[in-house]
C-alpha cells in the first residue's frame, strides 16, 4: 500500500513541478508534512546528497525519498512515479511537433523560444557561477561575499582546455573527473 501512495505522491510532484529539479523541493516539503515519511531536516540531507551525486537532481531526490520510505522497491516506484507524467506529456507534445514542424506558426513561436531558452541556460550558469565563485564570509560586515579565487582559476583553466584544440575532443566527463581530483588535492 505504501508503494501505491509513494507512486501517487511522486506522480503528483512530477506533474506539477514545472521547470526542473529545484522546482520539486516545495512539493517534497509538503509531502513530508502530509505523510510523515520524512522531516524537513531530512530534506536538507536529501538535497545535499542529490546535488553531490551524478544524475538529474529531481530524479535523485525521488530515489532517495523512495528508498528511505520503502527500501529498494520504494526507490524504483518513486522514480517511476516522478517520470510518468513527463513521459506522457512529452510524448503528446513530441507527436504534435513532428506533425507541425514545418508549420509557419510553430516556426515563428520557436524563433522566440530559442533565444529565451539560451538566456535561461546562461542565467542558470550564472547562478551556479555565483555560488561556486564566492565564499560566504560570516565575519565581514559587508554584504558582498569574498571571491573564491582557486575555484575561479580552476574554472577558467578548464574553459581554456575545452576550447584548446588538442583537448577539445575529450569527453566532458574527463574534465569533470579532473576537476574533482583537483578539488580533493587542493582542498577547494
Amino acid at each position: 500500500m505504501i508503494l501505491l501512495s509513494l507512486y501517487y505522491e511522486f506522480f503528483k510532484t512530477g506533474l506539477f513541478s514545472v521547470g526542473g529539479g529545484l522546482a520539486t523541493i516545495p512539493f517534497l516539503q509538503h509531502m513530508g508534512e502530509s505523510t510523515g515519511w520524512f522531516q524537513n531536516s531530512d530534506l536538507t540531507t536529501m538535497i545535499a546528497v542529490s546535488e553531490s551525486t551524478p544524475g538529474p537532481m529531481g530524479v535523485n531526490m525521488a530515489t532517495y525519498v523512495g528508498y528511505q520510505t520503502a527500501g529498494i522497491a520504494g526507490a524504483i516506484v518513486a522514480t517511476l512515479g516522478l517520470v510518468t507524467p513527463s513521459i506522457i506529456v512529452i510524448l503528446i507534445v513530441a507527436g504534435f511537433l513532428q506533425k507541425f514542424r514545418q508549420n509557419p506558426v510553430v516556426e515563428a513561436v520557436f524563433c522566440g523560444l530559442r533565444p529565451a531558452s539560451t538566456a535561461l541556460i546562461v542565467a542558470a550558469g550564472l547562478s551556479v557561477a555565483y555560488s561556486v565563485f564566492t565564499v560566504a564570509d560570516m565575519e565581514s560586515t559587508q554584504s558582498l561575499s569574498a571571491l573564491n579565487l582557486p575555484c575561479i582559476v580552476l574554472a577558467v583553466a578548464i574553459f581554456v582546455g575545452l576550447k584548446w584544440t588538442p583537448l577539445k575532443k575529450l569527453h566532458p566527463i574527463l574534465f569533470i573527473a579532473f576537476a574533482a581530483v583537483v578539488g580533493i588535492v587542493a582542498q577547494l
Binding site: 546528497v49 553531490s52 535523485n60 529565451a116 539560451t118 550558469g125 566532458p172
Partner: protein, 187 residues
C-alpha cells in the same frame, strides 16, 4: 531492438555524467547526442530545453523522452527515459543504504567544489556553441538580453518567460510573411 538498447545505454551514460540540474547535462548531451550519435541538432536541443521549461517534470527526463521518441517512437521515449534515471537509482540507493552522511565527508565536499567549477566552464562552453545557432538576428538578441536580465534581476518563473517569448515569436509572423511576399515579388 538494437536501437532501444542504444537509447537506454546512451542516456544511462548521460545520466552518470550529469551533476546538478538539467542544464548541467547540456554539454554531455551536445557531445553524445549531437556530435557522436547525431540524433538531434543543437537547435533541436534548445527547443527541447525551452519546452522542458514549461511542461511538467524534470528537464533531463523531458529531453530524454523527446530524443527517444524522435528515433524509436513511444517505446524509444520510454527506453531513453529509463536509461537516464537508471544510474541515479543505483547510485542513490547504494549511498542511502551504506553512507548515511555521504555529503558531510570533506573529500566529497572538496571534490564537489571542483566539479561545480568545472560545470560552470562546461556550461559556458556549451552556451557559446548554442548561441551561434540561436542568436542570429536583432530579434533573437533582444529576446535573449530581455529574458536574461529579467531572470537574473527578477525572480520570475522560467515557464512564464518561455511562454512570453513564444508569444513574441508568434507576433513576428506577419513581418515574416510580409518579407516572404516581398522576396517573392522581387526575386
Amino acid at each position: 531492438m538494437n536501437l532501444y538498447f542504444d537509447l537506454f545505454f546512451t542516456f544511462a551514460r548521460i545520466g552518470v555524467c550529469t551533476f546538478g540540474g538539467g542544464y548541467a547535462m547540456l554539454p554531455i548531451l551536445q557531445r553524445e547526442i549531437v556530435e557522436k550519435k547525431q540524433w538531434a541538432t543543437d537547435a533541436e536541443l534548445t527547443d527541447y530545453f525551452a519546452i522542458g521549461q514549461c511542461t511538467p517534470g524534470v528537464i533531463a527526463v523531458n529531453t530524454a523522452t523527446f530524443v527517444g521518441y524522435k528515433h524509436g517512437g513511444i517505446f524509444g521515449g520510454i527506453c531513453a527515459t529509463l536509461g537516464v534515471v537508471f544510474p541515479s537509482l543505483v547510485i542513490i540507493t547504494v549511498i542511502a543504504a551504506c553512507l548515511s552522511n555521504f555529503s558531510d565527508y570533506p573529500v566529497v565536499q572538496h571534490a564537489l567544489s571542483g566539479v561545480n567549477a568545472c560545470v560552470v566552464a562546461l556550461i559556458a562552453s556549451s552556451v557559446l556553441k548554442l548561441g551561434k545557432g540561436t542568436l542570429v538576428n536583432l530579434f533573437s538578441w533582444a529576446i535573449f538580453v530581455g529574458v536574461l536580465l529579467i531572470s537574473v534581476l527578477v525572480g520570475i518563473s522560467p515557464a512564464v518567460l518561455v511562454i512570453a517569448a513564444g508569444l513574441l515569436g508568434y507576433l513576428t509572423l506577419p513581418v515574416q510573411k510580409w518579407k516572404q511576399r516581398k522576396e517573392d515579388k522581387n526575386p
